[in-house]
């Protein structure tokens, strides 16, 4: 294992050297921006949900909207929320932060209320949405995601740490 590590430091050296003057120096003066590091991960997860829920909603609405209009309209709404959240999370700046916060809160409200609604009135939802049964069809990731997003946004409030990067 250690041998393996050493051998790649040679070819990884270039990358490291490049990131030392850029990355390390930046890291010393200010913390990692909201859309870098672990933030990339959260944005990726949102991006995947944006793409897949959009594709699903498009398919559902174009093929048989009449089969389950409530579920399909909600699919479309969820897709829109994920797209807005992804774009806002990927951007730096106080306004993007606020839009992201609103989108994540709408998403949280959506998954909780639609989750509950699908249990109370299952007859309205003969076809599934992303948020049905609290995101059961997606391994409950839709239920966890807004909490992670909220946590991340509250840890990176614009006025405090990210602001230095934003104003410049």
């Amino acid at each position: 294992m250690s041998e393996n590590l050493n051998s790649t430091t040679a070819d990884g050296g270039r990358v490291k050297a490049a990131s030392t003057d850029g990355g390390r120096a930046k890291a010393a003066s200010m913390p990692t921006p909201r859309n870098r590091g672990v933030g990339m991960l959260i944005i990726t997860a949102y991006g995947i949900f944006a793409v897949s829920s959009f594709a699903r909603a498009l398919y559902q609405i174009l093929t048989d909207f009449d089969a389950s209009p409530v579920a399909y309209a909600l699919s479309g709404f969820a897709a829109a929320v994920y797209i807005v959240a992804t774009l806002a999370l990927a951007r730096i700046g106080a306004r993007a932060w606020l839009i992201a916060l609103i989108a994540v809160l709408v998403e949280l409200t959506g998954v909780l209320s639609v989750g509950l609604w699908t249990y109370l009135q299952p007859e309205l939802f003969n076809e599934a949405t992303v948020w049905s049964h609290f995101g059961e069809g997606y391994a409950f990731v839709p239920l966890v995601l807004p909490f992670i997003g909220l946590f991340w946004l509250l840890r990176h409030r614009p006025g405090r740490s990210a602001a230095r990067g934003t104003q410049a």
């Binding site: 294992m1 393996n4 590590l5 790649t8 990884g12 990358v15 490291k16 990131s19 990355g23 870098r36 590091g37 672990v38 990339m40 991960l41 944005i43 990726t44 997860a45 991006g47 995947i48 793409v51 897949s52 594709a55 398919y59 093929t63």
Partner: protein, 121 residues
């Protein structure tokens, strides 16, 4: 369960494991993570060609054809899109970002198999 599904599951699982290990031991995007994404992409191309030939020859699938091809097109874009995104910031986390591809593509081929055969298992 078809052989194609089994191979796909293995390719995805391998990619996820490689990317996770690389997240722990590298602080830059590892070649092995990138190659594992390329393998997934290659698998998806083979899967699409195989499905295309079969369906062109007149074989029917259990579900809707255009839902099937919608999934294929989305799946094909995923490794490329995530790779580009992971390269924006070349850190340890690029590897973890890339590990998402294996997880999501596995779910997508599971769905593809359901649409193709009626059941994945």
């Amino acid at each position: 369960m078809t052989v194609m599904f089994l191979i796909g599951t293995l390719v995805c699982a391998l990619s996820v494991v490689v990317c996770w290990i690389m997240t722990a031991v590298r602080d830059h995007p590892a070649d092995s993570s990138i190659i594992s994404l390329a393998l997934i992409e290659l698998y998806l191309i083979v899967y699409a060609v195989y499905a295309g030939i079969r369906q062109a020859a007149g074989a029917s699938i259990a579900g809707e054809a255009w839902e099937f091809w919608g999934y294929i097109v989305t799946a094909l874009m995923l490794p490329v899109g995530v790779f580009i995104w992971a390269m924006i910031d070349k850190t340890r986390w690029s590897n973890l970002v890339m590990s998402f591809v294996g997880l999501v593509v596995f779910v997508m081929i599971y769905r593809l198999e359901e649409i193709w055969w009626g059941s994945a298992l």
